[in-house]
Amino acid sequence: MLRVVTGFIDELRHSGVPVSMVETLDAMRALETIGLTDREELRETLRATLVKNLRHERAFDTAFDVYFSTLPRQEEHDDVGEQFAGSGGGGPGSGGGDADLEDLVAALLDSLAGLDDEALRRAVGEAVSRLAGMEPGRPVGGTYYLYRTMRRLDMERLEELLMQAMLGEHEVTEFERRLVTEEVAARLETLRAEIEEEIRRRLVADRGREAVARTLRRPLVEDVDLMHATASDLAEMEAAIGPLTRKLAARLARRRRRRSGRLDFRRTVRRSLATGGVPADPQFRHPRPHRPEVWLLCDVSGSMATFSRFTLQFTHAMSTHFSKLRSFAFVDTIDEVTDFFGPGIDFGSAVARITTEAEVVWLDGHSDYGNSLETFLSRYGRQITPRTTLIVTGDARNNYRPPRDGVLADIAKAARAVIWLNPEPHAYWDTGDSTMSHYARHCTSVHEVRTLRQLERFVEELTLPTARGSGNR
């Protein structure tokens, strides 16, 4: 057992989860307090001691399922030995007759409708045996088997049948239907997870823990390249964006601690006691944080497709923390999109409106930073104040058009700060049609932001010049 745990911790580290020595020792100590017969107890024990960040839980669960898949669940004592035995002998594509399949579907439906976990697991074992067409020795992660099983079970039809089963005969309102639909979705998700787990268990029996874990390893969400993130990566990032934007909001609102606040009489007197009553060390109240004005300028051109989706998510989240956030989207010209975002507006419709309503394309739909900046300056320039912080996100790939960076210089002069976030690796800047350094010299700071981790670091280290004009007084 100890060996498995050590292997498991190694796997966590391989997938990027930072596990310290102290935490390893804690985990070992914790294991001594529990019986090792219950998989979920073990799971929560290892989770609490080893994973301290919600974002690492997916990696944790994947590795856990692989390493401890053969451990029985609470009060479950099925025979794990029969892994491939029940595959029915038929090659992939068999899976019994239609009548058998109907029986199987009926069994699944019953267990799902009746919330009978034990029966569900049995039916899922059966389904995987007959429908997944697993072939021993293939170095796959199981996704293929999962989809094959689900396709053969016909999830859409299962959904319909389950809906029928749960709605019964009587008329229902839209409202009731919605609640039932969500319940059905939740149960089908349980089914999906069960199938996935069953497949993993068999893969592990076939190929061993290390091999399966290696195939299943994915970069942590914070290390996924934003230019190539998948839809599910983006969905996962969304959860991280909330705290991050809140933190950014706090950073932008913060002023550096200086002795510019009002005298704090009480604390001064208190300190003076140490010096025999002489107020040698005057204490000041911290000045109030001020309300920052933030404007986001996002390149939404094709070369940025995935990244801009990410930035728009970011914009969306930001707009819930800053009342004074304005957002602009550009390709070869720029348009304000502030009203497309905001609390209560869902992200999908915001993005849809940007593509249909915002005028971001003027000529040919290829990025033109020069023209976008010029349009921006002439339309909104006068509204920039010394409290305005501009954040530009884009790769500065200008299709060999003139950069017109003088315009950015003018913008920067009017604003508190201009920050540029570039999703390309630093080494690619200024290669080909990238004009990053033209713009960089007018920016307060420029950052490579290819991953969520880099975005976090940017937020972490952000310090801004104090708002001009409202500064040292």
Binding site: E23, D26, A48, E174, F175, A250, V269, R270, P343, I345
Partner: protein, 287 residues
């Protein structure tokens, strides 16, 4: 109260009207066994603070609460000298030499004990709740870390004080800020999310007398439905509890679109959210 297994912990919490899931019970059990603080993280109103309170009730310990906020400092978290009293003493003793006076005024009599020190000095075992720790600045976090490492505090003028009994410690966080790795390493980590409808139904029944099974179940499902929307602020468990109470007060036996439309404001605090939920869940837009 014996807490010799996660199941016993769960049972004890339930008896104190706190409905844990298996994860919560497991982590609390471990915390008690290993004498480690628990860092409880999760969205607003999922029962983080309540868990600490329930554990105080279960273990019959006094609850000492340090409510964190931006700007919380040592003087408010640990201890402070009572400067007014000290000033008065200095004035009263004007003819004594400074050494005598300073020895005098930096004694127990002039010490204002704040929650952390109070927890350390308590002779009875206590539950220490450090609530909303993500609100404090990094410097204060370092202070907490120090205290949690060895449960002792040294006051230059008085010497070192060490805890006689180890407090059971809960820290809560809404994750508005990433806490330091060092602090996290010290703690067991417990993420609590919104309860699934089955557990929320139980919570509602435990907290709202007179609620029927059917209504509890409906309330829990509507809550899940609304939480799946993209909202400025999703309804917390306390809000679903309020909503259930409202429904009882209105003698509602069955939630339908109309009831929901009329009572959205109990669940949702922002007009935009109400409008959005009305659009999704009812056929008529919000009023």
């Amino acid at each position: 109260m014996s807490l010799d297994s996660p199941q016993e912990v769960a049972g004890a919490l339930r008896a104190a009207s706190y409905l844990p899931d298996a994860r919560i019970a497991q982590v609390v059990f471990l915390a008690a066994r290993l004498d480690k603080p628990v860092l409880v993280e999760g969205p607003a109103g999922v029962g983080k603070t309540e868990l600490a309170k329930a554990m105080a009730a279960v273990t019959e310990r006094r609850l000492i609460r340090l409510q964190c906020y931006e700007g919380l400092d040592e003087a408010k978290a640990l201890y402070e000298w009572n400067y007014k009293k000290q000033l008065l003493r200095i004035q009263a003793d004007a003819d004594h030499d400074w050494d005598t006076i300073s020895h005098d005024i930096f004694s127990e009599d002039f010490l204002l004990t704040r929650p952390l020190l109070e927890a350390i000095r308590s002779t009875d075992p206590v539950v220490l709740l450090i609530d909303e720790v993500d609100r404090v600045e990094v410097e204060t976090e370092a202070l907490l870390l120090e205290v949690l490492s060895d449960f002792q505090v040294s006051i230059p003028e008085l010497g070192t004080m060490t805890a006689v009994t180890r407090p059971m410690v809960f820290l809560t966080s809404n994750n508005t800020r990433e806490l330091s790795e060092a602090l996290k390493r010290r703690c067991l980590f417990l993420h609590i999310d919104y309860p699934d409808p089955a557990r929320e139904t139980e919570i509602l029944k435990a907290r709202v007398p007179g609620l029927s099974d059917h209504l509890a179940d409906q309330v829990a499902r509507v809550a899940r439905s609304i939480r799946s929307l993209d909202l400025k602020k999703a309804p917390s468990v306390s809000e679903t509890i309020d909503w259930a109470r409202t429904l009882i007060a209105l003698s509602v036996e069955e939630v339908d679109e109309e009831v929901l439309g009329d009572t959205f404001h109990v669940l949702l605090k922002y007009q935009v959210d109400i409008e959005r939920a009305a659009k999704e869940l009812t056929s008529n837009p919000a009023r």
